[in-house]
Amino acid sequence: MGEIIVVTSGKGGVGKTTTTANIGTALASEGLRVVLIDTDIGLRNLDVVMGLENRIVYDIVDVVNGNCRLKQALIRDKRFESLYLLPAAQTKDKTAISPEDMEYLCKEMKDDYDYVIIDCPAGIEQGFYNAIAGAEKAIVVTTPEVSAVRDADRVIGLLESSDLRNPKLIINRLRPRMVRQGDMMDIEDIVDILAVELLGVVQEDDRIIVSTNRGEPAVMNLVSPAGEAYRRIARRIRGEEVPLMHLEESYGFMGRLRKFMGLC
């Protein structure tokens, strides 16, 4: 029996899709069976972040409308055999599927996969309610900014009133140097304000942009601090107790050497 997790945030651009791609890839790299669902209909992106955009034949709306079977729409990842993507439709809008459709899809996949990870669209309209309909657990992604944390708070309230209690928090794009200088909210500030359990902290990392450019999730890059943070998050999702990273001190030997030589 698999776990169905929705990745949400309220505010756009805080890293939901990157988080979905990286957690999914990290879990699949451990041999677990994972399916990622992009529910951002009309603005699909998970396919490009995963580097699978050229392989799409059918999408989630095709499945819901009965144009194809679920198995036909699932795209198998080229690097990890046990990783699949169910892409969003690009030409339709959020009303093309319903919460009942999502519940049905999640139920269909629950037995065949260890993790079903749903990438939620930004906002709190129909698309949000579709994305969370079939989920059993929720992850809320925020960045250390007033606007993002405010939206996260709103989303946490909505999740709880939709019976997704105890969502877990990922603080993304933290800049340790700015925190040290007193110019960015710290982990404690945010956790204290939102009063939810922390799942992980991902520091700002230029390699995320490089990895998105290439369509290779950062967890595949062994020197990327963000990749390391996501690998740890994946292990926590599996139930392991993993300490938080020492921020900015976790580049590894090669990373430190490169930094020392001014290469990054």
């Binding site: 900014e145 405010r150 309230g157 007193g182 909210m185």
Partner: protein, 97 residues
């Protein structure tokens, strides 16, 4: 002083914008959370009324409970028109003292 000037010239933000962020967020969330569910304010009003009526006879229709924001704090302002003070309460306190 000199460092402050230099920082300003270099376009650096005033120190500790973290504190600003935290405080502004705290205030904004007081409002957000209170307004997010009408249930919250109504329930608060109801519970306040039930406590107050142990001591006074209040006019339930004119009971007002609002959030007021000044610069630094959000305060809960209540206006409770009282019809009379309960005698039985006064008597009870006399006995115990």
């Amino acid at each position: 002083m000199l460092i402050d000037c230099l920082n300003r010239v270099l376009g650096k933000a005033a120190p500790n914008s973290r504190i600003h962020a935290r405080e502004r967020l705290r205030l904004v969330l007081v409002h957000d959370r209170a307004k997010m569910s009408p249930y919250f304010m109504n329930k608060l009003k109801e519970d306040l009324y039930s406590v107050i009526t142990r001591y006074v006879v209040a006019d339930a229709d004119k009971l007002e409970v609002v959030l007021n924001q000044s610069d630094r704090v959000v305060e809960l302002k209540t206006s409770i028109p009282i019809k009379k003070i309960r005698r039985d309460y006064l008597e009870r306190t006399k006995k115990t003292s």
